[in-house]
């Protein structure tokens, strides 16, 4: 029997994997991909809650609209983020986070 908690657990573990990737990896592109994974995990939580909350017999589409907006914002974020990474690569010839330490105290 699949319950809401099953879906929430999958979303939580996916978020944890993304978190581990963001902290552990040194490649900016991989970090960025892990960020996308964390965003998607949050989306899964939203969609799961929609499906298990059916006041009029169909899923609550307000939350699915929020997921729609999240996906759109994530797409814009990826475009801008990748442009920044390309600019960074032009300046440093590297995509390692260790090559960007100017703000480090």
């Amino acid at each position: 029997m699949i319950t809401l908690n099953h879906y929430l657990l999958v979303a939580g573990v996916l978020f944890a994997i993304g978190l581990a990737g963001v902290v552990a990896r040194r490649n900016i592109l991989t970090i960025f991909m892990c960020l996308e994974m964390m965003l998607s995990a949050a989306n899964l939580t939203l969609v799961a809650f929609t499906r298990f909350h059916t006041p009029v017999g169909v899923p609550d589409y307000s939350a699915q609209s929020l997921v729609f907006f999240t996906i759109t914002v994530a797409a814009a974020e990826v475009a801008v983020g990748l442009a920044i990474i390309v600019a960074l690569f032009r300046a440093r010839q590297s995509v390692s986070v260790e090559s960007v330490t100017k703000l480090q105290g």
Binding site: L19, A20, G57, Q64, F69, L82, V86
Partner: protein
Amino acid sequence: MPSLLFYFFAAITLLFGAGVVLARNPVASAMSLVVSFVGLAALFISLDAYFIGTLQILVYAGAVMVLFLFIIMLLDIKAEELKKGNVMPIVGGVFLAALFTFQVVTVLDGFKAGDKPLPALDLAKAAEAPELAKMPSITNDLKAGSLPDAKLMGLTLFKDYPLHLQIVGLLLLAGTVGVVVLSKRDRKEEEA
């Protein structure tokens, strides 16, 4: 049978998600992420969110990941080498992930409201809803016993959140302009 499919797609999502973090080569990471997103889209569809599931495949697995692959190939990135200074971040990342997972499991263990099976959709009841009375295209689908997911999604977006939709459109425009500005080479830089 649906529970088997749930475990199958959940396993695909999580295993390939782990592959993203573990793969040394960024191209392998990107390909794992594509498969992970396809698994996630299947989970969305198992939750009757057909539109969101389709969007996940089209936007994430399609557009976003192709953009990632383009950039990876454009920059010609070599596989990451394991250096000595890398041990602390890995320990920290694994510790944080374990802590977060432990927290989620603890919270879900006490979350009794989430311990219920998937409620059946009541399409006949939804067809009687007053806000859908003037939407024959939707009520006919509901009476015929199929969930008009994309239609209901569009109705919600354009009836309840039209301003938000326009703001998001403006954001996409701003993003496009931002990308063009960011990737334009500085003229002074070229002369130098």
